[in-house]
């Protein structure tokens, strides 16, 4: 961040009093319920796979596939952004939100072509999650390995 002059700092202080704070309580409640609802659907899918004789691990992988499909499908229908507007983190954090973050730029940039548009821009939102998710899981794995020795 560039250093602000005294005049700029004073203006920022003056403005802060004028600006509204986002409705945090309402957002939290909506995020809790919508996020929870998505998880309930995930649980139902998981239970369904287990009841069909899959192990917990296999059923988990299958559930992820189904939930990613649902997130992508609702994004394609133009519904997921409306859910996200109300739910905020409640629909961003679950895996359906991850699907949304990949499908929405893919749809948006399709017009710039399948290579430099769709494929190249697909990960603009999800890219950082993938990069740092991979790095952190490798680090955690390393630490786990060292402590297990």
């Amino acid at each position: 961040m560039p250093k602000l002059t005294k005049e700029q700092q004073e203006y920022q202080k003056f403005v802060k009093k004028k600006l509204p704070s986002p409705p945090i309580l309402k957002n939290c409640i909506m995020a809790f319920f919508v996020g929870g609802f998505i998880c309930v659907i995930g649980q139902l899918v998981l239970n369904f796979f287990i009841s069909r004789g899959l192990s917990l691990k296999e059923a988990g992988a299958h559930t992820s596939v189904v939930m990613v499909f649902l997130g992508a499908f609702l994004t394609g229908l133009g519904v997921y952004d409306r859910i996200g507007k109300i739910a905020g983190a409640g629909s961003i954090v679950p895996i359906t939100g991850f699907a949304n973050s990949i499908v929405s730029p893919a749809m948006e940039f399709k017009r710039e072509g399948y290579v430099f548009g769709l494929a190249a821009k697909m990960f603009v939102v999800a890219g950082p999650v993938l990069v740092y998710g991979t790095v952190v899981s490798a680090l955690v794995g390393l630490i786990y390995y060292i402590f297990k020795l």
Partner: protein, 336 residues
């Protein structure tokens, strides 16, 4: 010797160029707003039969210009210059529209202040005797602006209360040496002001000081007071920026609350879910070329000060942590 300059930043247009016609095209959401009846064309959908949002924006701009020229009854061959700008990288809406229109073209970028910038420069060309008919225009499109400056349309994210909604549309005006009303009498070009705001979702706060600087400069240069005008109209400060601008002006000794409005607050109804209000090059352009121009012809307003505001940021500057430089240009439009 600069004989037409007043004070530090204001130009007095002694030959008072006139606005002989205007045209406005807006998207469907704008067409549901309170100013709907003032727009010449309301689109049924924002893609407008094109293959991409960018192509749609270019088409909207081009057709607004054609419509304004047609209404002015000036033959195409007599339109001497076309001044336009928009929000997209390399102002492609304007230059691609110019490619098809064929008029000599000056591309301008002042972000959402471009309509005042182009009106000001266009009026100077006419006033200086360099042209008799100049067409000026700006456009913006919600979908092109979102994907350039913010997130993909279908991305499920939340907008903060200070966020504004980019107007889909275009406004065009033909400025002429013909002696008729309304006329452009003064232009105050603003300085770039940066008061340290860096939130790209809060343009009103960033731009308010630029508007205030230009308004104060205009009053000091011309010796006019806020009461002189029937309406002082800022571009797109929206609800929070408007309040801040009013208060800053009060601190500087100018009370404009009686006759002050903001285009960003006029475009949509409060229940249209646009958060703080409207923004975009087309916001000030369509309000001025639609509502203001038509009401000036009816003499509801006789003296208007349009102060269009622009945030001169880019996605790169935001990512590099830069604060937002802002600008405001003022144009006084009067029935003499």
């Amino acid at each position: 010797m600069a004989t037409k300059k007043l004070g530090l930043q204001t130009l007095k247009l002694e030959n008072t160029p006139s606005i002989i016609s205007t045209a406005t095209i807006v998207g469907p959401k704008e067409g549901e707003g309170p100013l709907a009846k003032y727009f010449d064309l309301i689109l049924a959908n924002s893609i407008y039969g094109e293959k991409s949002w960018e192509k749609a924006e270019k088409k909207i701009l081009k057709e607004a210009v054609e419509m304004a020229v047609k209404k002015s009854h000036v033959p195409n061959s007599d339109i001497e210059f076309f001044l336009a700008g928009d929000l997209l990288n390399q102002i492609i809406s304007a230059s691609f529209a110019a490619r098809e229109l064929g008029f000599p073209f000056l591309g301008l970028y002042g972000a959402c202040s471009t309509i005042a910038e182009s009106m000001g420069i266009g009026a100077m060309m006419v006033d200086g005797g360099f042209a008799d008919n100049v067409v000026v225009a700006t456009s913006s499109h919600f979908c092109t602006a979102e994907r350039q400056f913010r997130m993909p349309l279908e991305s499920g994210n939340q907008r903060p209360p200070t966020a504004q909604w980019t107007v889909t549309g275009a406004g065009a005006a033909v400025i002429s040496s013909k002696p008729q009303n309304p006329r452009i009498t003064h232009v105050t070009f603003g300085r770039v002001i940066d008061m340290g705001s860096s939130d790209a979702n809060d343009m009103g706060t960033a731009m308010a000081p630029a508007a205030v600087d230009t308004i104060v400069r205009h009053f000091e240069d011309t010796g006019r007071s806020p009461e002189y005008y029937d309406l002082i109209l800022t571009g797109d400060l929206a609800s929070y920026g408007k309040d801040i601008a009013e208060e800053l002006l009060k601190q500087k000794g100018y009370n404009i609350s009686q006759n002050y409005s903001d285009c960003g607050m006029m475009m949509f109804r409060p229940d249209q879910d646009v958060h703080a209000g409207a923004s975009g090059c087309a916001c000030a352009a369509t309000v001025t070329c639609g509502y203001i121009y038509k009401e000036m012809l009816k003499k509801t307003f006789n003296k208007i000060l349009l102060v269009a505001t622009g945030a001169l940021l880019s996605t790169t500057s935001t990512q590099q942590g830069e604060t937002i430089p802002c600008i405001a240009h003022a144009v006084s439009i009067e029935n003499l």
